[in-house]
Subunit: 297 residues, 2 copies
Amino acid sequence: MSTFDLKSFLEAQQARVEALLHARSARLEPSGTPSMLAEAMRYSLMAGGKRLRPVLCLSFADAIAQQSTALRAAEDAACALEYIHTYSLVHDDLPSMDNDDLRRGRPTSHKVYGEAMAILAGDALLTEAFGLLASGPEPVRVALCRELAMASGSSGMVGGQVLDIAEDRPAQMDYLTRMHGKKTGALVRAACRMGVLAAGGSAEDLRRADSYGEAVGLAFQIADDILDVTGDAKLMGKPVGADAAAGRYTFPAVIGLEASWVLAERMVADAVAAVEPIEGPGGPLSVLARYMVERNS
Amino acid sequence: MSTFDLKSFLEAQQARVEALLHARSARLEPSGTPSMLAEAMRYSLMAGGKRLRPVLCLSFADAIAQQSTALRAAEDAACALEYIHTYSLVHDDLPSMDNDDLRRGRPTSHKVYGEAMAILAGDALLTEAFGLLASGPEPVRVALCRELAMASGSSGMVGGQVLDIAEDRPAQMDYLTRMHGKKTGALVRAACRMGVLAAGGSAEDLRRADSYGEAVGLAFQIADDILDVTGDAKLMGKPVGADAAAGRYTFPAVIGLEASWVLAERMVADAVAAVEPIEGPGGPLSVLARYMVERNS
């Protein structure tokens, strides 16, 4: 698959995710959500972004199911993943956390709606993620709820955020990988697993999604840290060196830029190897894995 | 059932809930939750309180199932309800919301652990509530997830909190009942419904739980507002008149003290009538309904 193919594939998948999110978030007011809350939820939800987690979820579901009939649960799962990712950004941006005024070039939720509403919009997005997962009749939905709760809860994403803001963070590789493994890795891995689960994949498929998700999540984070050192501020929408300036531990800071590149490349190779038996050589998932480290924003 | 019986019943049920919450929250660290986060979650979760929602859930399940084998899902549901209630208190107490320093006579979560950790402990409790509901094999668990998400999300509890902090609140009865119906009523009603669902009750049982939960939730809230005017500060753990002083709309302020009493009493009568066919006259649920308006804290 050439670079052009990846671009079209990503654009098509992202447009699909936008349409799914639009349809689901349009149901808020009719089901009794106060309009101000619905507006704050959509403000953050519909702010663009790469939609990486939903795209991974849908790509795995597509690769496994090979037909569109089993995909309603996968589509709800894709949206639920983006609801969770969005709520985590809204809460992370709060004054008592990262205190960020801008997100994707727009004022953050608390700058627009105030701090109380930003907290509540985050709480609502988190809750509605599980509402979406539980909204259909397929028996797999309880497994999807379990998967999402484990990945995004106290031993996953929220736990990772706690490790990231802890005062006594050792600048060590094992702390860094444990922190990222929870903070971003767990949800990326869950995105892959939930696609397989929703599509009725085998235990072997699930193990492959696991390996792929773990490798891709780490590659994505290392690339993020490298971009913070070498990237183009305009493309990224934030100043170069912001992480280092904020005292964040990054892979280049802990193991050096060269070793960070080597590790990211190894992760991509691991990811590609994991999905070849599912989609054949050069399929969308392996191209997506390469994109994680070759993107420029 | 005499007053003495209610006291023993409540104490036994509350002790049961404490044991269930203790067992479930003890699993946090072994499953990978950072210890500081687990500590903050337990600080708020194990702070006592009436455990009203879990007691309602278990009481309905007991009344329907008549045997203890079907109760594992009901016990997870009872704990999930208290996780949700607890997270809502932690977030409501935050400086940007009610800015409360004390809760049940102890410093609030953000006073002890800082604002960032209080937000994250709340997020974690919310997420783990769904993790608990999705932790077992019974097919009913997806319905329990749906029920909890609807009651506690943007059209339920979170939506009610948004209505409560909105600037343009009309001091009118329909706004007040709509706000309370979402903010506290929805979760109380869900507690009753989830007990019936977990125990495999009929559609008729579910309708009765619905009527009971709605009436009891409203009666509870009116009694809260009345206690704020007439109560004993020492028993309640907060000063008399705090709601009125904070500019909150209360039932006595909107319809007067006398009409508030009359309405509360009518709600209790409705609730008692709804559950008599399930448990017979004078059973635990009808005594619980009366307790909502006769308590002094």
